[in-house]
Point group: C2
Chain length 401, copies 2
């Protein structure tokens, strides 16, 4: 008999009625002859409320205690879901992360899973119980409660599925699957039935809000197939798995990221060590740099631009200005009014014309491209922020519909 | 250096400001050169809110999951208090019950503490940390979270104090100590500075709401002295300890219990096995009987009365009516309009006149006594409910002021 791991996010267990609905889905899955492990997040806004309480007490709450605090949110969901399952006449066993054998490192608030000791889960499954595990948490080698950071419950589900060699891991959420583009902007966007880990990862880093990359990376590393689908709609869903080449569609999805900002160093001396100086300093300050573009050098000088998340632009700009002076640049500027449009698809590797089609589609729509960055399976263009949504629609129409 | 264990109840950590106040009390205690272990309850109404959530899902929530659910309330208090302590520049270590080494039996929702493995607490105290432990919870031999029932945090504090051989256990609450009578009814009631375990136990069973008897019994069994005092007032407090004989006061306190009800069997055949039949049936139904009075037998028949908690009177009456028929009684009646007045004092054992003084004081006040029950250190009288408060004032005046 196969094991199915199901994960329900905070919006799926936001209130009593929704928890009862999840209990029905879970027990129906068992009725069909499966062994079921369920991973749940905290109810709705619980985590935000707890963070708010902590901030009223301490401006910068100690991370160890923060983990202890936040871990309670998922445990409440576990207990209530178990009660709802038992209310339907089924047996359930609720386990906080540490009782489910989830051992992590000791990096509080963003711990990494090290091992999963599946003995307790397997023991309860043997008794025909539905096992409900608190997502997002584990225990450190020093026996302290840890949490896995944003999106941690997805990671819990995928890691448990891997450790149990589950048939499938189902990630239930409030959208019916992974779309070819954000349907709020591109109404004709469609659900992608099958997508590769690589494409999902590019989508996550290109600004699609489906899943955090850590969970997808983990699934890819350990070859754990999973499905993203809606808690509230029966059909649909996107299967994420190993796909090496797809017939047909070259581009699987297009994304828009409006949370980018750009810094440019004008007239930088073009000598070894300059890039290392700039990006070394940003790295030390823990600022993630996304796209980097450097123009060809003319008479020993060059222009260098890069993008960062808009939340980090002020710190990045301050550091950049200091380095600019040190290097003798003409000027350093920052620009918040940009957006990043990305097309993603495994097929691209074998279809060299994709970049050209994307650029000319944008040109026909009168949209100027400011920066370009490519990888084997994606092409990103930086455009003016005001052109972002139009650019997304344009490339979606070009490649998908 | 001595260890002090402090326990703060739900009303002492009901909001952010109160938690900050507790953090100050705790750090002041450390500043004076003590090693400090703090036990906390859930914030204000948290436990009631969680129970309410559970009842919306399951009429009779499974106890194992109930424990998992309720245990989160204390953990939230632990995390927030640690943050407040660290905000004052001190180091804290927060521990859920299972990490504090509190092992219980597996009777969910009213587990008993079996052992306390103090290694982790001692380790953290050695690092000069203030150790904050979640009250009311532990872990069972099967590795499930358990809770200790109402008043469980007092028990946690006293048990930890015993295991650590602490100098003193301080139970902080919203009253400034144990009073000679309920000050809401008897304005001239005073705080008792020192009282024996035995008297505290009689007070608990006589209806005083200071502390659950389980915690007091535990303290008595393991000779753990403790103080009951207010979180919000610096001075006062009542020391509870081994006192074998007290000079001076014969009676230490008087109490009123208005939550009693009475059942009477009229004209019961006076033969062996009758009392066993009645109280055996009530025991099987888990109904606690308080006072039992049987009149002298006249011509082979007697009248038999007993009291139970008013919450159980309906069930007790139904059982009693059936047994009454079986035994051939003339009638069985129930009466909710009673109250129990009790005087408590170790000194009584050596002062035989106390009962007589109590009865004549009540007689002078025109209050009729319906039932009497005595032990070595207490005398209880059942009176009409409408006379209860007057009776309490009368005996307080007679013995204490």
């Amino acid at each position: 008999m196969g094991i199915i791991v199901q994960k329900y996010g905070g919006s799926s267990v936001a209130d009593i009625e929704k928890i009862k609905h999840v209990a029905e889905k879970v027990t129906n899955t068992q009725k069909k002859g499966n062994k079921v492990v369920v991973v749940v997040s905290a109810m709705g806004k619980t985590t935000d409320n707890l963070i708010n309480l902590a901030k009223q007490i301490h401006k910068n709450p100690p991370t160890r205690e923060m983990d202890l605090l936040l871990s309670t949110g998922e445990i409440v969901s576990v207990a209530l879901l178990c009660m709802a399952i038992e209310n339907l006449g089924f047996e359930a066993e609720g386990l906080p992360g540490f009782l489910a054998g989830i051992r992590t490192d000791n990096i509080h608030t963003k711990a990494r899973i090290r091992t999963i000791d599946t003995r307790r889960i397997l023991e309860e499954l043997k008794k025909d119980k539905i096992v409900v595990v608190a997502g997002f948490q584990g225990i450190s080698p020093e026996d302290n409660i840890t949490t896995l950071g944003r999106g941690g419950s997805d990671l819990t589900a995928i890691a448990i599925a891997g450790a149990l060699k589950a048939e499938i891991c189902e990630i239930y959420t409030d959208v019916p699957g992974v779309f070819t583009a954000d349907p709020n902007i591109v109404p004709e966007a469609r659900i992608i039935p099958v997508i590769s880990y690589k494409e999902m990862l590019e989508m996550a880093s290109a600004g699609a809000k489906v899943m955090q990359s850590r969970a997808v990376e983990f699934a890819q590393k350990y070859h754990i197939p999973f499905v993203v689908k809606s808690t509230f709609i029966e059909n649909g869903g996107t299967m994420v798995t190993e796909v090496d080449f797809k017939e047909g569609a070259v581009v699987s999805s297009v994304t828009l990221d409006e949370k980018q900002a750009k810094i440019t160093f004008f007239h930088v001396p073009d000598r070894p060590g300059v890039a290392a100086r700039i990006f070394g300093a940003l790295g030390e300050a823990n600022i993630n740099v996304d796209i980097i573009v450097q123009n060809v050098s003319t008479s020993g000088y060059t222009d260098l631009s890069f993008t960062v998340n808009i939340a980090e632009i002020e710190r990045a700009f301050e550091i950049s200005q200091n380095i600019g002076k040190e290097l003798g640049c003409k000027s350093v500027t920052s620009d918040n009014e940009i957006a990043k449009v990305t097309v993603i698809g495994l097929g691209m590797m074998n279809h060299p014309g994709v970049a050209a089609r994307m650029f000319s589609a944008l040109a026909r729509a009168g949209i100027n491209i400011e920066m370009i960055s490519t990888s084997e399976i994606k092409i990103s263009c930086i455009v003016r922020k005001k052109d972002g949504q139009k650019a997304l629609k344009t490339v979606h129409q070009e490649f998908i519909k």
